[in-house]
Amino acid sequence: MKAGKNQGEPVLTLEDITFSYGGSAVLDTISLAFNPGEFTAVVGPNGCGKSTLLKVMAGLLVPARGLALLEGQPIPALSRKKLAQRMAMLAQSNEAPAGMIVSDLVGMGRFAHESWLSRGTRDDQAHIDAAMRTMAVTDLADRRVGELSGGQLQRCRMAMTLAQDANILLLDEPTNHLDLKHQYALLETARMQAAAGRAVIAVLHDLTHASLYADRIILMDGGKVVADGSPADVLTPENITAVYGITTVAKAFGRAIVHLPESAAE
C-alpha cells in the first residue's frame, strides 16, 4: 500500500452524523475519520448520500445530529474563510460566467489567503502558476470560460481548487466532463496531492478508477456506510451485489479491480 497511511491524527472526523432534507435520513449515524496522506474514494449508487456527505464535511450543510470536526474544531462554528484556508472543494456544478478569464478563475482559489490590503502577492501568483501547470491549463490562461470545452473548464476549476493550497481536498465527481486521458491525469493528480500529505476525499462513480487510485474506499448505500477499507476488501462481488443489486464477476489487473456483469463476463 501507499506511504502516508496512518500518519498522525485524523484531520477530519465525523461522529454519528445524521442529516435529512426533511424526509427520511439521507445520512444515517455516520462516523468516519480521515487521515492526512490518504486518498479516499466515496462510492455508491445514485442517491446513496455520498454528495451530501461531502457537503456536510465542507460545512455547506449542517447535520441534524452529530459532530463534524476539522482538527478537533466543529466545522459549522468556523468562518467560511478560516475553513477555506484548510479545506478546498471542487463542487459538482460546472458553472462559471462565460466572460470570465481563465487566469482570473484560477485566481479565485486564492481568496481565502487574501486580505483587503494584500492580494495578488508573489506567493499567490506562484500557487496559481503551479496549479495551472499541474492541470496543464497554462496555455488557456488568457482564454474566456465561454470558449472552453467542458473538459477544459473542469481542469481549470480543479486548478482553482489546487491553488487554494488547502490540506483537505474534497472532490465531487471530479472526472465529470473529462475524456479518458484527462480522467486518469486528474486522478493521478489527486493521488499526488495525497502523497504530498493532504487528505483527499473524492466522490467517484467509476469503481475501477477508485480501485486503481484510492488508498481507501468507502462504499455507501441508503445513507449508511456499507464497507470501508482497502479497495480489495471493499470491492468484493458480495458487497457490489448488496449495494448495486447486480451480480458481478471481479477481475483484477494489477491494482485495478474491474466488476463485470455476470451475464457479460463469459
Partner: protein, 331 residues
C-alpha cells in the same frame, strides 16, 4: 481586449462625449467658448450661462444616472447569475415611481423626502418580482422566469401609478417629464443631496467586488472558496437597489442602461474584477450622456426626453440580448 486598453478607450469616449455634450445643443458652441465658460466664466454672457446652467448641470446628472444604473445592473446580474436582470427589467424603476406617486398623493411628500418611498418601492418591486418568478418557474432556475416576474411587477406598478395620477391629474402636471424619465434643467437640485449615495454605493461595490465575483461561480463553490454567500448576496442587493433608486429620484425611470452597460462590459473586457466594474461605471455614464445629446439635438430646437431615447434604443438591445440568450440555450 485587455482590461487596461478597454479602460483607456472608455475614458476617452467619456471625455469626448462630455466635450460634445457641452458644445452641442439647439445652438452649437465652439470648444473655445465652452472652455471660456468653464474656466473664465462671465455671468453676463448668455452663451456662458447656457453652457453652465443648462448643459453642465445636465451633463453631471446624465453621467451620474448612467454610472449608478450601470453599476446597479452589473451587481444584480452577477449575484443573481442572470444576464437579463437590471433595475428596469426587475421592475425596480416602476416600483419606485409608483411609491413616489403615492407618497405625493397620500402624504404630500416633496423633495428629499421622496427618496424613502422610492427606496421602499424598489425593495417591494424586487420582492414581488421574485415572488412572481417563483410562481411561474415551477421550481426551476430559468433566467427568463425572473424577467417574466419583473415584467409582471413593472406592469402592476405602472398601473398603480396611472391610477394614482388619474385621481388627481393636476397634482402631477409638472411631474410628467420625470414619469417618462427625463433630464430637466433643475435635476441637479435633488442630485445635490443624493450624490453621496451613489459615491458610497459605487465605493462599496469596489470594496466587495472580489466576493461578488466568487458568487458568480455558484453558491456552494463560493462558500468553499471562503465567501459567505448569504451575506454577500444580501449586502449586494442592499447596494444595488439604493444605487438605482438614487438615479430614479433624479431623472425618473430611465430604462435599459443598467442592462446594456454590463453587456457591453462583458463583451469587451469580461466581467471579473475591479477594472470591469470601473469600465461598466464609465460605460453607463457614456450611454446616458450620448442619449441626452441625441435627445437635445435630433429634433432641435425641440427637446426629446432621454427616457424615450433610451427606451427606443434600449428596447431593441434588450430584444437582441433575449434572443441571443434563447439561441445560446437552444444550441
Amino acid at each position: 481586449m485587455k482590461a487596461g486598453l478597454g479602460l483607456v478607450l472608455v475614458a476617452m469616449a467619456f471625455f469626448l462625449l462630455c466635450c460634445l455634450h457641452l458644445s452641442a445643443g439647439a445652438r452649437f458652441s465652439a470648444p473655445s467658448l465652452v472652455f471660456d465658460a468653464l474656466f473664465d466664466h462671465d455671468p453676463r454672457n448668455y452663451q456662458h450661462v447656457v453652457v453652465i446652467k443648462q448643459r453642465l448641470t445636465r451633463l453631471v446628472v446624465a453621467g451620474y444616472a448612467g454610472a449608478v444604473l450601470a453599476v446597479s445592473g452589473l451587481l444584480l446580474q452577477k449575484i443573481l447569475r442572470n444576464d437579463l436582470v437590471s433595475p428596469s427589467t426587475l421592475g425596480i424603476n416602476s416600483g419606485a415611481v409608483a411609491f413616489v406617486v403615492f407618497g405625493i398623493y397620500l402624504f404630500g411628500l416633496t423633495g428629499a423626502a421622496l427618496f424613502w418611498p422610492a427606496l421602499l418601492g424598489g425593495f417591494a418591486a424586487v420582492a414581488v418580482a421574485f415572488l412572481a418568478a417563483g410562481l411561474v418557474s415551477k421550481g426551476g432556475r430559468d433566467p427568463l422566469s425572473l424577467i417574466l416576474g419583473g415584467a409582471m411587477t413593472a406592469t402592476l406598478f405602472s398601473s398603480a401609478t396611472t391610477f394614482a395620477i388619474s385621481l388627481d391629474p393636476d397634482l402631477f402636471g409638472n411631474l410628467m417629464g420625470w414619469l417618462v424619465g427625463d433630464i430637466g434643467n433643475f435635476d441637479y437640485q435633488p442630485l445635490a443631496w443624493l450624490w453621496p449615495i451613489g459615491l458610497a454605493g459605487i465605493g462599496f461595490a469596489f470594496f466587495l467586488c472580489r466576493q461578488i465575483d466568487l458568487l458568480t461561480l455558484g453558491t456552494e463553490q463560493a462558500a468553499t472558496l471562503g465567501a459567505d454567500p448569504r451575506l454577500v448576496r444580501a449586502g449586494t442587493l442592499a447596494l444595488a437597489i439604493p444605487l438605482a433608486i438614487s438615479a430614479v429620484c433624479v431623472v425618473g425611470p430611465i430604462g435599459f442602461v443598467g442592462l446594456v452597460a454590463p453587456h457591453i462590459t462583458r463583451l469587451l473586457i469580461g466581467e471579473t474584477g475591479r477594472p470591469a466594474l470601473a469600465f461598466c461605471t464609465l460605460c453607463g455614464a457614456v450611454i446616458v450622456i450620448a442619449a441626452d445629446i441625441a435627445a437635445r439635438t435630433l429634433l432641435a430646437p425641440q427637446l426629446l426626453q432621454v427616457g424615450t431615447v433610451m427606451a427606443l434604443c434600449g428596447g431593441i438591445a434588450f430584444l437582441v440580448i433575449v434572443v441571443a440568450t434563447l439561441r445560446r440555450r437552444a444550441a
